[in-house]
Symmetry: C2
Subunit: 773 residues, 2 copies
């Protein structure tokens, strides 16, 4: 004990402590879903639709049910509860019943003694129906004669945001850019595929252990499919090998399936997706089409922004309505516009449902607006950094939704620090008037983007914007902390442990942060939207402050003084009126325990208020993260291959609780953004089948592809955040692709308006440019 | 859901709801320690000392370590932490090191792939040393030349209680009884033997699952033996097949052993005791010798009580100091004495350590004082009921420790109801002047006892007299409750669920009470001393009241009224100023959730103050349970076998939360008390070996032996208890044996002063009586 509780004691917030799960990960001791093998466990697999749009669906499982080793085969009719995944809309079945809307939609599930038997039995299931012509892209789906996939118009949701007199602003504009930008699917490519273990437990209900971001969504789903009361559904997150949004809603389905089989068989059932199955059937980043029309006066003052933003939602709504909302709110970028008009819609098609993915609807439209801004600067003959300097939001300015920014706005500082670090002034030069010839030496270019990111769920998810925590101090001073948000690799357990230690003045090493478990903490909303530090951190502070009050009482008794003169530092309480009089943290805890004071508490945090009216105006988010990305690239004019030389990413995170983890998030997000920018390209055939469902066909950036990435942490504290912190999960990806596109254009003189910036797409843009001129 | 949350709604406190674990027990679904078999689990056994007093101990495990299948053999030297079981004193090692003090003391532990391999390997361990002469009884141990087993005098602890001028009171006494009474060991004979599973877990620490009463003691023990901080030791109680005190301290040793092996092997290790091992080595009720000298005036007014009380503590102190304290505090019975002198001591011997057992030091001395009181009544020619009526404590009276009883005193009511029910007036007649001849028909007699029981830990365990709870209301209104006390068959989960439901006005069926888990609730002290209802019940009420405040806020908003006019009944909140205006509990919960109000809370309860001075005076307990037992027996003068015809047991429990469970506790305690009274007799040879370590040799009452037992519940509410409740776990056993002894004397005219009242002991008493006369 002593070795844990003593040693050099210093404040821990702001220190790059080693994350508590580092050891178990490095040593391979972390237990992921596939590492759980309780006695008597069955293996489960999913039977899927073989066509993207099947009507009059028939699923014949009679052969599978008699297959050796099979314990249970379930179809929609076998569901005791509701065959609807509970999410934003109530449109997606756990198992398709009358029609299947995408290639690979689940139609039956099989549990058997071995995985081999389960797979073989699944192969015997006969899935038939009327093969209708699938509708793969939103433009087709919006045609009047398109098949009805959702409602009357195939539109899941639309949002309009309007501020100011748009046409007047355009009339005053000296230059206008009007262009269309497109982005493809992106695959989350988390290290660990979807996986769930469901076990009937001694509550009389069921216990789910698995890889997930949102245990409370999973709890909702399992309660729904089994018609169980919530207190009999316990969901525990195990070690989770990445999420990136891909484990926001999807695990609800996997858990629902495993739970259904476990409930039917009264045995533990484990379902682990293969990589191919995972890529083929799980959510993706929405493909998008953005039409951007923006105008400025001759001085470069931005006047009018008119954005038309369309997302391909795929077969079911899943999270599309709120992905769309976030995209729309941020569509005009972090700029002072005189007038803004944003129209947006998410459209139903026959592809896999697209859903949450780091950035959540922002990267697509940010690629568009930030590319268009560079195109506008070019027309104005301006340095792209200069046009941003002139127009970015500062204190007192309004966002597109009319949110007046009154604090924590490090936009300008982020931009200037990034520009300084990369040497923008020395490096930037005008783009070539014509592209260099194929045989030229590689050319270099530099590009930037400025972006903002509304922290948390915002007004669109207001009723979920709360979080709880449970904190218990043991009599040796060690601390257990449970929160409702998950650790999926982002370092939440480190940050939460630091917040707890700092609030209690306990040594960081004595704090254990447990895995999310719905039976230990109240519904704390999803682990998304970079909200964990502020929301769960706030809840942990609330709990720790309650416990600290008991410690202050005990310290005052030990020091024989009034509680009002008690102050503390790490591992010590002292009487501030008498220098040198102090008691250790551990002795204070022991005294508090002896006094029978409570050292266990729950904490609760409700986000600062947000609002959003039907006019698209309001304080959409509690605060914003402000970011600048600057990328230097080298492009080979012959192969049109792009190599990133240096990527500087500056983010105003309010306060970095753990700078190393913040930097790691920035680096990870930057690399994932570079993949999105340059190479990732999920390919669907005309019938909605994913053709490259594997990492030999779907090309991810590897460590070898990683350029020099320089994270810059800007800290303009957020009053309501723990120790001033905001968040950093999503922002690092958002502005990467446009910075790269702008750099490629700067290097090569070719504007590419379609991601990825692959040699093929650059060549196509080059050819279009040549044919236009 | 609806079917669970609707239906006939009525207040649940005071209702005999079916205990929530009834179904799983009846269906055999409860998971006991031996039902846990995680993958990779090892089986563990204990190697034990073959002699009751071995000095210069040597344990050679070299052969065992090379035995096939053996994963680990550990001796004292292998313990990474402290080789002392943390309890009242620090005298007992987990594994004997230099000397073994009782026959069967643990000296090594073995873990192997199979139980068979573990047992075989254990057989090869060579345990040698100097065989000293064991000291089996306290009278030998107190001799000046006795071996030094503990300290300088072999006395673990002594307590004196003195009030008034004893000798003056004796001088005023017209009659005096001065007698010695003896009681033997009693075996707990719980259905499930000791058993523990230890698993290294993903906290980096260890998780213990097992059969136990006191998870926080187990946590202390495992942290000590492994030198782990407390937050890395998680202890979860599984279904527990009875405890009766035998799972208060002993599981700490079993868990320590299993944890040691799990820690060394980094594998799950399960240790399950065989019945023989369990009886041979685990704690017992202390054998006792009580010398009672009491005096009264000719009217029957009790004047002086002088009690000398000696317990055989066995080889280590374990809980003897506090068992002794409880015995001493209650030694003079629930009577108004003018003067009291109680001297008591617990003595070290070379038997298995004696410890906690239902009644905790009270049944032994109660047998003595209640027998003596009948002997005194006989001298006064008084009805034994009459002498009690005349002297029992009522409001305003003082106990032996000078505690003035100012509320919740149903002593008189219990006695009168019991007397009425059995028909005392009609049945009682004076005992025969001489015993009937061997050939006579069976003779009948009736006997009574009046007793009291200090609830909870009292001043002797004051710093442990607190408890915590965790309550979470899910958004469908269902409720999870966790407490720090355990369900071991006594019905705690039912009672706690009723208290939670009543406080929240939630339907009882929607409440789940989980198993005790040290990671979910703060140290709530041991589950002993009939304290769970008051302590954990109080903590649960505290938590539920916090949540109820949020519900009242939500209800006031739904009903558009002030919170002050909100009232509630089961499943409904209403505006008391407007008849008919109400909202359902479930809608109120949903609204509260939508409003982002916290529906999770911790609760805390600290017992009312108690105190106990060096003079043995003070308010020893927060309150008392008052009990009367009346027994009618039939004795065969030939075989001297006693049959109980009817047993009426009346107990003032304050308030019966669940009358059926209270009645079940009374019946169970009565039968266990009848076994103690009539037949249970653990037999040790002169070297301290237990000779009847099995249920063919140690005779327990079975269902076939059970007489008609009539429980009477008296309810004089305890202000500080939940809904007025006190407790009922221990009291039912305490007064049974003297009531039976008094009835046997009444039937046969033979006073037996040594338990059990077996034919042998009755015969011996008869022969002594004959030789005296």
């Amino acid at each position: 004990m002593e070795k844990i509780l003593t040693g050099k004691m210093e404040k821990v917030v702001g220190k790059s402590v080693i994350r508590p799960d580092a050891g178990e990960k490095v040593l391979g001791r972390s237990k992921y879903a596939a590492d759980y093998t309780p006695p008597g466990m069955l293996h489960a697999v999913t039977v899927r639709a073989p066509w993207a749009f099947l009507e009059n669906l028939r699923v014949d499982v009679s052969r599978a049910r008699t297959f050796p080793g099979v314990a249970c085969v379930a179809v929609a009719a076998d569901i005791p509860g509701t065959n609807i995944v509970p999410l934003v809309f109530q449109d997606q079945p756990f198992l398709a019943e009358t029609r299947a809307l995408f290639h690979g939609e689940a139609v039956a599930v099989v549990a058997a003694e071995t995985l081999f038997e389960a797979l073989n039995a699944a192969d015997t299931v006969d899935v038939t129906g009327t093969q209708s012509t699938p509708c793969i892209d939103p433009e087709s789906a919006l045609k009047p004669d398109a098949p009805r996939l959702h409602g009357e118009d195939n539109i899941f949701k639309s949002y309009d945001i309007r501020r100011g007199d748009l046409e007047a602003a355009f009339r005053r504009s000296d230059v206008v850019v009007d262009r269309e930008y497109r982005t493809p699917h992106q695959e989350h490519a988390y290290l660990e595929t979807q996986g769930m273990l469901a076990e009937p437990d001694d509550t009389g209900g069921i216990r789910i252990t698995g890889t997930m971001q949102c245990p409370f969504y999973v709890q909702d789903a399992v309660a729904a499919i089994l018609d169980l009361p919530k207190h009999l559904v316990t969901v525990v997150q195990c070690a989770t090998g990445g999420g990136f949004g891909g484990k926001e809603d999807v695990p609800s389905i996997v858990a629902g399936h495993a739970a259904l089989l476990a409930w039917k068989t009264r045995r533990p059932v484990r379902m682990i997706y293969s990589r191919e199955e995972d890529i083929r059937t799980m959510s993706k980043r929405h493909p998008s089409i953005s039409r951007i029309r923006i105008g400025a006066d001759s001085s470069g003052k931005l006047l009018a922004a008119d954005v038309d933003y369309t997302l391909n939602g795929g077969a079911y709504a899943t999270l599309s309505p709120i992905v769309l909302w976030r995209g729309a709110v941020h569509a005009a970028g972090p700029y002072n516009w005189e007038a803004v008009n944003i129209e947006s819609r998410a459209v139903a098609t026959n592809t896999v449902p697209n859903g949450a993915f780091r950035g959540f609807g922002q990267p697509q439209v940010t690629f568009a607006i930030e590319s268009a801004l560079d195109e506008l600067a070019e027309l104005l003959d301006m340095d792209p950094l200069e046009i941003r300097r002139k127009n970015i939001i500062g204190l007192g300015d309004l966002t597109a939704t009319g949110h007046e920014i009154d604090s924590s706005c490090g936009m300008s500082e982020a931009l200037e620090q990034a520009a300084d670090r990369i040497g923008w002034t020395e490096k930037w030069k005008k783009k070539p008037v014509t592209p260099p010839s194929k045989n030229s030496d590689p050319v270099r270019g530099i590009g930037c983007s400025t972006t903002f990111y509304g922290l948390g769920l915002g007004a669109g998810g207001k009723h979920l914007a709360r979080a709880g925590a449970f904190v218990q101090v043991e009599d040796d001073g060690t601390v257990r902390v449970y929160i409702g948000n998950t650790e999926m690799g982002q370092g939440a357990r480190s940050v939460i442990g630091q917040i707890a230690a700092e609030t209690l003045d306990a040594p960081f090493e004595s704090v254990y942060v447990g895995r999310a478990d719905t039976s230990r903490v109240p519904d704390s909303g999803p682990t998304v939207a970079s909200r964990t530090t502020v929301m769960s951190g706030g809840a942990v502070m609330d709990a720790c402050r309650k416990i600290r009050r008991a410690l202050v009482t005990a310290a005052a008794i030990l020091l024989d003084c009034d509680e009002l003169v008690i102050e503390s530092e790490v591992d010590r309480f002292f009487n501030r009126t008498i220098p040198g009089q102090s008691v250790s943290y551990t002795d204070t805890v022991k005294k508090a325990k002896f006094l029978r004071l409570p050292l266990t508490a729950t904490g609760w945090f409700v986000s600062p208020d947000t609002n959003f009216g039907d006019d698209g105006q309001g304080n959409a988010y509690m605060t914003y993260v402000w970011s600048a990305n600057i990328v230097e690239v080298e492009v080979d004019p012959g192969t049109l291959e792009t190599r990133v030389l240096h990527h500087v990413a500056a983010h105003d995170v309010g306060r970095a609780i753990n700078p190393r983890e913040v930097a790691a998030q920035i680096q990870g997000g930057a690399l994932q953004g570079l993949g999105y920018a340059l190479q990732e390209n999920l390919t669907l055939d005309g019938e909605g089948r994913i053709l490259n469902a594997g990492f030999s066909g779907y090309l991810l950036p590897t460590a070898a592809d990683a350029p020099l990435i320089t994270p810059i942490i800007v800290e303009d504290p957020f009053r309501e955040g723990p120790f001033g912190a905001k968040g950093i999960g999503e922002p690092p990806l958002i502005g990467v692709a446009p910075a790269v596109a702008n750099a490629v254009d700067n290097a090569l003189g070719v504007r590419v308006r379609k991601l990825p910036l692959s040699p093929e797409h650059i060549l196509k843009s080059l050819m279009e440019m040549e044919s236009e001129s």
